[in-house]
Symmetry: D2
Subunit: 164 residues, 4 copies
DNA sequence: TTTT
DNA sequence: TTTT
């Protein structure tokens, strides 16, 4: 199909520590359980209500898995950007089940810590060991590198003066 | 929870006509089945691959339900903005199942037709019978009304010339 | 034009306290200055680089203006969702200028505090004094009320069991 | 800054053909002029109103530039995802000006054609010559390659049947 | 002018 | 299981 978009944006808190496992060929996969919640006041009774939604987030990218493993803990607030994916599986009693997950994989996936503890954090895009510096043998987490790409050929004399 | 976001953005095509049903008290609910797909070239073989993902979209807002009923058909391309919601239900054989849906309900829900046939289309926000004109006995679909709100107190002399 | 979307999503910190002013007819307008920044490692030198972008955010909605006034301070981290708008104006020397702002107005605008101090906060949608509770003489900030809209007619027996 | 997000999502139509230029070292830069518009009904008079917003979009990524050059024409409808950037420049009379643009550069940039003519289309992410196949001397446009990354270690037996 |  |  030409021209489709499948994007999920969540800001929420981890309900527990990330779970990291490995595939047979050694690639890491991280699972996050992220809570979002809505609060509102009941129109009739006026009482305050809250509803929590839990999201299963699966990270296939190696760099983002490391970020999750090293920096994220139960309770951490994160911004994530991924895609919806529904997986079919069969439970032990042979019943077919579907599980819908938010998948961070390939491009246009992002994981950003929003509580800036530990000095480590920052914003990470899923660069799949891509073009920008952070690859190689170093274990340094990949850095989002928007400003460097295509930097040549542009008058980037952005001093941070405010135009307003 | 202070500060959470639960947002899904899809651009895709309807796999079938919208299904409209009504609650006991007469409120409409529309179900859409939307396909998104990814294409890529296999790194090993070089062949073109495609994977389609199907999304279950549920519209609770009355105005958007009417839009869906009147304007959307199988094959239509739409932009939708909603929230993830996982629902638990029990099938006829007593097995507990979970279903994750993209819910359009309340604020911050949008349904926009992207193939501008039928003159009807346009962009619709889920205004829940809100502040902007489209309420009342009229069956007219709600219109997104960004520019009118707060129009006072602002120099809105934007002529539609391209400023660059 | 049928079918367009104009959306900006920012997560950043306020560079200074919100500035609130009023129109002649008494409507509040809040201006926020929000910083986002990118960090990356230079491919050549390996040194850490950072580039900050400043965004002018204008809030026309009365409820969100109150939230900004009461809860936001210099340094606060926020999630905002608005639309791009370029305004033409003439400076004192008669030169035509353009200013591009992120406008929170009408539907599909959101302001959410991400550092949960003061117990006040929460997530606020721009409901324009709409359908959900928060209107009236009360000064209570508007609450995002997704779950209440259309609540009738749905089996919302979501207990927060995790389906995974 | 740890934890910031700078994202613009537009769905709109090109006001004119893309303009492609090259930097001194030969890198292409594409400029798009994209219109979005809002329609609403005036609360007082009831008449239909429309306001068009024009967005300057700058593409630094070589792959996306080629896509723009080869597939996009005046009138084309596109989905784009980029970041806000304000640039300072001096006009011929020495006046300092600011220009805010939507920049597609590096990760998390997307350009997707929404009117599927010419068979070419599809969805493209800005992969900066990244991990997925499309690099090399071939002029083939980069393909978004979500499903292939991390494919090992996962039961991806998704048949494209609609599961609901 | 923020933040790390 | 989070957070307020």
């Amino acid at each position: 199909m030409a021209g489709s978009v499948n994007k999920v944006i969540l800001v929420g808190n981890l309900g527990k520590d990330p779970e990291i496992r490995r595939t047979q060929d050694g690639r890491p996969i991280a699972n996050l359980s992220i809570a979002t919640s809505e609060t509102w006041r009941d129109k009739g009774t006026g009482e305050r209500k809250e509803k929590t939604e839990w999201h299963r987030v699966v990270i296939f990218n190696e760099g983002l898995c490391k970020v999750a493993e090293q920096y994220l803990k139960k309770g951490a607030k994160v911004y994530i950007e991924g895609a919806l994916q529904t997986r079919k599986w069969t439970d032990q009693s042979g019943v077919e089940k579907y599980s819908t997950e938010v998948v961070l994989q390939g491009f246009n996936s992002t994981l950003t810590m929003l509580d800036g503890r530990s000095g480590g954090g920052g914003s990470f895009a899923d660069d799949a060991g891509g073009d920008f510096g952070s690859s190689g043998p170093s274990m340094a987490p990949p850095r989002r590198a928007v400003a460097s790409a295509g930097g040549g050929g542009r008058n980037n004399d952005m001093d941070d003066d405010i135009p307003f």
